[in-house]
């Protein structure tokens, strides 16, 4: 616990975060690359075709990891917004705002790949059913958070307003997840996360899980890349940033 707490405090300092993330980035990059390549090969080549949907179901390997990630990122964003609001932690707000754009990207990918899947299988690009609509709302939430943050000149005000919107928007997460259970929807129910276990051939399930874990590492990677930039912008006036550049110049 003590070690964890110490680590947490170290990450709370922008300078320490910049140094630690610098050494973690290559690891996250390599792991996500290996997992995504393995998952793609297994999903596209090794996994059998589906009995109903034939080869078209292979869209699942990009659609579902993106959709899961869009919700995971929102969870991280909202939790860091809460930490920021309660403990006024600098780095929490950095994590919050640096998660918004990746979240929006993956929501968009989930929506578009879903549409590309819906057209041949359901017979439509888009329907206003509860699952599709609540996922679209998630995209608007991400865009709203980014827009609200950027509309303030004063950073503390920007962080606070964006954080409040982020916390309020958390209500949408259970709605997205349970939409397929609470209401009649065109979208089918959950395949993997269900009480009686995944209803999927294991040869199809493994690639999906590998892809999903790979996507999570990828998010860790781009979150750190973005957060480092944000730290540089916010700390530009601090001497450690200048030292960093000078040291780097001497090293090369």
């Amino acid at each position: 616990m003590n070690v964890l707490l110490k680590f947490y405090h170290r990450l709370g300092s922008p300078r320490e975060f910049y140094e630690i993330s610098g050494s973690l980035i290559p690891w996250f990059g390599t792991i996500s690359l290996i997992l995504i390549l393995t998952g793609s090969y297994l999903g596209l080549v090794v996994a059998p075709a589906d009995y109903q949907q034939g080869e078209s179901y292979r869209i699942i390997y990009v659609h579902v990891p993106s959709a899961w990630l869009s919700m995971l990122i929102y969870t991280v964003l909202a939790v860091s917004a809460m930490i920021g609001l309660i403990w006024r932690m600098k780095m929490a707000y950095v994590v919050m705002i640096c998660s918004a754009a990746p979240g929006a990207w993956f929501t968009l990918v989930a929506l578009i790949t879903g549409s590309l899947w819906g057209k041949p299988m359901w017979g439509t690009w888009w329907q206003w059913d509860a699952r599709l609509t609540s996922e679209l709302l998630l995209l608007f939430l991400y865009i709203g958070i980014i827009a609200l943050y950027n509309s303030f000149y004063e950073r503390h005000l920007a962080e606070k307003s964006a954080a409040i919107l982020a916390v309020v928007g958390v209500i949408n997460l259970p709605i997205i997840h349970y939409s397929v259970e609470w209401w009649n929807t065109l979208h089918q129910g959950s395949t993997v996360i269900r009480s009686d276990g995944p209803s999927m051939d294991v040869r199809m399930l493994w690639p999906l899980l590998i892809m999903a874990v790979g996507f999570n590492f990828y998010y860790g990677l781009i979150l750190m890349l973005r957060a480092r930039n944000q730290v540089l912008i916010q700390e530009a006036r601090n001497s450690w940033v200048a030292e960093l550049v000078v040291n780097k110049g001497q090293a090369s």
Partner: protein, 158 residues
């Protein structure tokens, strides 16, 4: 935690709880509007509401698909295993349309005949290889596996 942090935490949690309860009540109030489709039983219980467009969702009854003389109009029975309604549709059917398949039809009902302007296929949440589906079908016919595990291209006379 300092008292200030504690009170901020209380405020955040209070706002969240309030919001959660409000949206739960709101979603419950608009429950029927959020339903994407009605089932045949709901439509029968509603005494065949003859005005307006509705979405009707159910399973295509085995052996009920009937292609009319003009070749592009199909009639089939849609069931939720309580009530059955006959649907008529002219147009291109989605690839997944087949007997035993869940579908959603959008249209209006007149004299207990549902005339659809759009037919969408629903697929279930199970994914399996064709040979596995075939094997399962042979083992247990009563299980809810669609009768035709092989794909029937849209436009084929059934």
């Amino acid at each position: 935690m300092t008292p200030k942090q504690k009170s901020r935490m209380r405020l955040v949690l209070l706002v969240l709880a309030g919001l959660g309860i409000t949206s739960l009540l709101a979603l419950n109030a608009f429950r029927s509007n959020l339903m994407y489709f009605l089932t045949p039983a709901e439509m029968v219980a509603g005494d065949y509401p003859e005005q307006g467009m509705y979405r009707l969702g159910g399973m295509v009854v085995e052996g009920s698909i009937n292609r009319l003389e003009n070749g592009i109009t199909v009639e089939f029975d849609l069931t939720d295993y309580e009530q059955t309604i006959t649907v008529r549709y002219t147009g291109i059917l989605p690839d997944l349309f087949r007997e035993g398949q869940g579908i959603v039809a959008h249209g209006r009902i007149e004299n207990q005949l549902f005339t659809a302007e759009e037919v969408l296929a629903k697929h279930d949440e199970s994914y399996m290889a064709p040979e596995v589906a075939e094997a399962m079908k042979n083992v247990d016919m009563s299980k809810a596996i669609p009768a035709s595990a092989t794909k029937i291209p849209a436009g084929t006379t059934l």
